[in-house]
Amino acid sequence: MNQIQLTINGIPCRCEAGVSILEAARQNGIEIPNLCNDASVRVYGACGLCAVEVTDDGNGKPIPKLLRACSAKAMDGYVVSFDTERVNQSRKIALELLMSDHTGDCVGPCKLNCPAGTNCQGYLKKIAAGDYHGAVRIIKEKLPLPAAIGRVCPHPCESNCRRALVEQPLSIAYLKAFAADKDLADAPYRAECKPDTGKRIAIVGGGPAGLTAGYFLRQKGHRVTILDAAAKMGGMLRYGIPAYRLPKAVLDREIEEIAALGIEMKNGVRLGKDITLSELRREYDAVILAVGAWSSMGMRCKGEELSGVIGGIGFLHDISSGEGEAPDLRGKNIAVCGGGNTAMDACRTAIRCGAENVYVIYRRTRDEMPADALEIEESIEEGVTYKFLTNPAEIIGENGHVSKIRLQVMALGEPDASGRRAPVPVDGKFEELDVDLVIMAIGQKLDAQGLDGVELTAKGTIAADTATYLTNLPDVYAIGDATNRGADIAIAAIGEANRCAEVVHSALSGSLTPYRAPFVSKRENVSADEFKDRVKQARCEMPTRAPEVRRHDFDEVNLGLTDEIAQKEAGRCLECGCHDYEDCKLIRYANRQEIHPERLAGLKNSHPTERKLVCIERNNEKCILCALCVRVCEEQAKKGILGLVGRGFPTAVRPEFRDPSVIAGCKDCRKCTDVCPTGALKFIEQA
């Protein structure tokens, strides 16, 4: 055979004469993007993704037109590129155009709304099948603390769960904790680490962010040391969250699993006191600051300096961890100011310390409270009194100690920037409560001690780049509550840590690659109508200990799910995310370069999903009209059941639809589903 030589993207290639450029690349292990090509059928040339530029035709001349690599023959001496600006632009527009007429959810709303991008649909499917180790393997691709997070996460996944359009969202968070508990109980899944790279990374802060960053960087083969000022690792999970929500033993087990990857963990090391940032920078190849936000914010209200006025975080610190004695609050009246989860933890902890009356002072109403609804419910069950639409005006002391709190009565006005209705004071209306202790739980801020030379934001948080996580110092990264917008939920810090680990890894591997949010296709305006045929199945209830029992101790409130209930609950998943997401060529190419299909938004073809063919569900809204199914059905299966109907933009792939005998002619040869580059065709296993 006559061999020829050419260059593709700078790589010297050899192939037989007469093959296409696409095939020549393939034979040399190079993939030129393509969507409508398959070796089993004739060349078609529709998608245009395989466009290449020939800068030298072998005689020193460029070919002026872009060529389709699927049809253009490879010629001796060709210098071919598919990464020139012109080709990239052509491919970008093609992908943007395709995406502008592509309707589907790459991933379900659960995963899409998880700040860490946890693949909920994936692990729910495993749980439904009883494969808990498998579920945890999927979870731990993004999140190394599922038993802890599953117990405490405010679960944006559930808030966005589309099952709510049928009846109620899935109990995703508890299912995650359930699977993780099962996994930990018996031969837990443990990730493998790459061979040692010799790079050393110091992570300051052993909370969820620091642990997660360490977990993923260790897997890349780097040597990780986590330093923490506290006695034990866990950060807010340990010192902020009370044991009745997250038992310390569970947290310990998960941290053990992380440490088991070979991560050095040093406790009792405070930055700025026991070690300085410059020392760390000298000793390590990279430093990640994940120090958290540990100071409670003040309320800027008169009397704040009185004894008996304390911060929520400080109040919880020793009690939550069990490292300190729980104070005896018997007979005392406590005011907790704030409406978030820290306020919840504080008020419920106060109840458990025996307090007579615990008031939650919140300036809006229950509907506006940022705290988890279930926690509010449970706290009321436990005896907490809510003072909605009130705001501390003054803390009144007696002999230097708090005795009363004066509350300004509020009313709701117009919605503010956050969309919530802003509370406004009602002129001259006040209320007073007798209190012995005031706990301020209105927010946390960074304690910037030891962060010498690190630039802070106006808010007093560490200024970190949102794509590289870099601070102003070239080898110092920062993530989590300590940065930018300040304290957020744990899963948000975990997501940042995960992405930061990728960036740090890229930087240590020689070239820093900033994080870029992956492009995903999303459906808009999904309505309940779509699910009206679904059988309603109520959300599982988490059994809890009775309020009158649990209010006296710090044992876990939740009693946990059974296998049967968990599997049934997981089976409620609607599987909103595309079945083909992992294999989809379209989304893979769409993420190789930055695309913005929204700028080309326009009419989309809309089609109902149909099951006219045996075994095959067809979703034409995901179809990109590569016609591979039509061609493979005709050329390979020799059936010709599918055809292109119509012309131009409204063209659609259809099987003929009247004569049942022809449809029966579709055997489950799967050729069309195998060859479909997107999730438009789905093979349905027959029962």
């Binding site: 060349v43 078609y44 040339g45 529709a46 998608c47 245009g48 466009a51 037109k65 872009l66 389709r68 699927c70 049809s71 253009a72 023959k73 012109r86 632009q89 052509s90 970008k92 527009i93 093609a94 155009l97 395709l98 502008s100 007429d101 700028r599 080309l600 326009g602 009419l603 990109i624 009209l625 016609a627 292109l644 119509g646 012309r647 131009g648 933009f649 409204p650 063209t651």
Partner: protein
């Protein structure tokens, strides 16, 4: 003294009432020595119906805008030999200049011979060229025919302008016994009709040109792919093929030679993309007319994957003339880059619209102003659109561009198949760009992504601009899409679809900006952007506008000036239409 009356019966003439004139004349001449016949289209569309009166072979009178009511007058004048009595109907000298400035090769017999009569065609020289080629002694070998075409410099007249000899030679060189010669008569450019005129007026010229092509490449079968919307053309071509077959010009051993060739007609079914040669082949094979990837080119693997040659009607219509007069004679016309003549369909806001065949090298100004007589209704010239959906508009400043493939290409427009649509100040260039994108988006076959979705998106963006919803950045977005579609589309339809938009932006960017930024249509053509106001000094208070206004936006009492409430006004323009005092201004 015997007169022969010819009524011009092209589709256009018939539409204007030529058949009725013929029908009215016939009984009036039944018992006279005056003969009555039909001819095809002379190309002076604005004067239809046209009746020519010949004495022997000399044109004595050309009567224009004739109606059936004139029949008696015409019949009487011919019978009584008083042709001068018809002077009121006679064409003016000024209008005659339309023809005298032309050089007619492809159209040489159009409007002169009877398209239904073989005898009439032969008398005008039909089949001389093929006779010359197939002559037993001193005939021409296929190579010599191709050489002659090469010398002539004839290029494909369908739009791309590819050298005809090269395609013929490639098809000739391709291995295989079975070859096909195809005529693309799927004239789809909305604004071009020269191919239809040739088939309707002089079908034998097409047949002869195709015979010569078939002989040159070695094809035994010739196929004409005609638009289904051209029923008269199909009818006349069918008849002509039957006549030529009977006369031995089609079939086995033509004129006693070894050359055999059959002919057939295939009617298209309505798809502009089938003007693209590989889509046309797919359609001929009974498939969806979706273009194939090239290579292979049809010359190597075309119809049924056999070597095939495709040219359009006008190209073939030149061939016999070239053989008869020599390639040099043809090459003597035109410019160094573009030889011979080109037929244009001159239409739009032009005073004298019709078919124009001129040598390459004339300027656009000469064609539009000297032949076409300039803009009608006293308006200002704005642009001329050439090449239809694949072409572009050329502004006033470039009117001295000479007609030549390269020079026209440099303007961003193309020679195209010959549509030349003239626009005046009242034509909105944004709206025209949208018109063409509406067309291409509708005609896109849907195969390749760039064209299927890209033209749709361009159409949508242009749509929002003319509706007054354009956004800053839309021009740049259009330009970006245009560039990508040109680069990425599979076939000529898609690759050239951006041209109308690109040229409109290039020459009339200010109009786009006015639509987008000021929500104003400078040509006062885009309904959604128009505003109406009543001039108090001109308003007589007749109340007509207020009565007609469908939304009650106009207030005022009898004999006092009226007023339009812009908030209520839906811009329907009724007030402007009904006002007898021109008091309603559109702005």
């Amino acid at each position: 003294m015997s007169y022969r009356i010819l009524v011009g019966e092209g589709s256009c003439g018939i539409a204007a009432g030529a058949a009725k004139v013929y029908d009215a004349l016939r009984p009036l001449l039944a018992d006279s020595s005056v003969t009555l016949g039909v001819t095809g289209c002379i190309g002076m569309c604005w004067l239809e119906p046209i009746v020519d009166i010949y004495e022997d072979d000399t044109l004595k009178k050309r009567l224009v805008r004739v109606s059936a009511d004139h029949a008696a007058q015409i019949a009487a004048a011919c019978r009584n030999n008083t042709l001068d009595a018809l002077s009121a109907l006679e064409i003016t000298e000024e209008d005659s200049a339309f023809l005298t400035r032309q050089t007619r090769i492809a159209l040489r017999n159009c409007g002169i011979i009877d398209p239904n009569s073989m005898e009439s065609a032969v008398k005008a020289g039909a089949y001389e060229a093929i006779g010359r080629i197939l002559r037993k002694d001193g005939g021409m070998r296929p190579e010599a025919v191709i050489d002659c075409i090469k010398t002539s410099g004839l290029a494909g007249r369908g739009g791309a302008g590819f050298p005809t000899w090269f395609k013929w030679n490639a098809a000739r060189q391709s291995a295989g016994e079975e070859k096909y010669l195809i005529c693309n008569a799927d004239e789809g450019d909305p604004g071009a009709f020269m191919d239809r005129a040739v088939i309707e007026s002089d079908p034998h010229t097409l047949i002869e040109g195709m015979l010569i092509g078939a002989y040159a490449i070695g094809a035994k079968e010739a196929i004409v792919y005609v638009r289904a919307e051209y029923p008269l053309a199909i009818k006349r071509l069918e008849a002509a093929i039957a006549q030529a077959e009977a006369a031995g010009y089609i079939g086995e051993h033509i004129l006693g030679s070894d050359f055999s060739c059959s002919f057939r007609i295939k009617a298209g079914a309505g798809a502009f993309v089938c003007g693209e040669e590989t889509a046309l082949i797919e359609s001929l094979e009974g498939q969806r007319g979706m273009p194939r990837l090239k290579p292979p080119f049809p010359a190597a693997a075309g119809y049924w994957r056999k070597p095939s040659n495709i040219n359009n009607v006008e190209t073939y219509a030149n061939v016999a003339w070239i053989i008869n007069n020599g390639g040099e004679a043809y090459a003597a016309l035109g410019t160094p880059d573009s030889k011979g003549t080109k037929v244009f369909a001159l239409t739009g806001k032009i005073r004298r619209g019709g078919l124009v065949e001129i040598p390459m090298g004339m300027t656009l100004r000469q064609v539009i102003f000297e032949i076409g007589g300039g803009i009608r209704d006293g308006k200002q010239f704005k642009a001329v659109q050439m090449g239809g959906p694949s072409g572009g508009c050329i502004p006033e400043s470039l009117l001295d561009t000479v007609i030549d493939y390269k020079k026209l290409g440099a303007t961003g427009a193309i020679m195209g198949s010959g549509g030349m649509v003239v626009m005046d100040e009242s034509t909105c260039m944004v709206s025209m760009a949208k018109f063409f994108l509406d067309f291409t988006a509708k005609e896109s076959c849907g195969k390749c992504v760039h064209c299927r979705i890209g033209t749709k998106r361009m159409q949508e963006i242009l749509g929002r601009i003319v509706e007054g919803n354009g956004k800053t950045g839309d021009i740049e977005l259009l330009e970006e899409l245009c560039a990508a579609i040109k680069d990425g589309a599979l076939c000529g339809l898609g690759q050239t679809a951006p041209n109308p938009v690109l040229t409109a932006i290039r020459y009339f960017r200010d109009e786009f900006e006015a639509h987008i930024e000021e929500k104003r249509c400078p040509s006062l053509a885009c309904g959604a952007l128009l505003r109406y106001r009543i001039h108090a000094d001109q308003c007589k208070g007749c109340t007509l506008c207020a009565k007609r206004c469908p939304v009650g936006a106009i207030t005022g009492t009898v004999k006092s000036a009226h007023c339009i409430d812009a908030e209520i006004c839906i811009r329907c323009g009724q007030c402007h239409t009904v006002c007898k005092f021109a008091a309603v201004e559109v702005y």
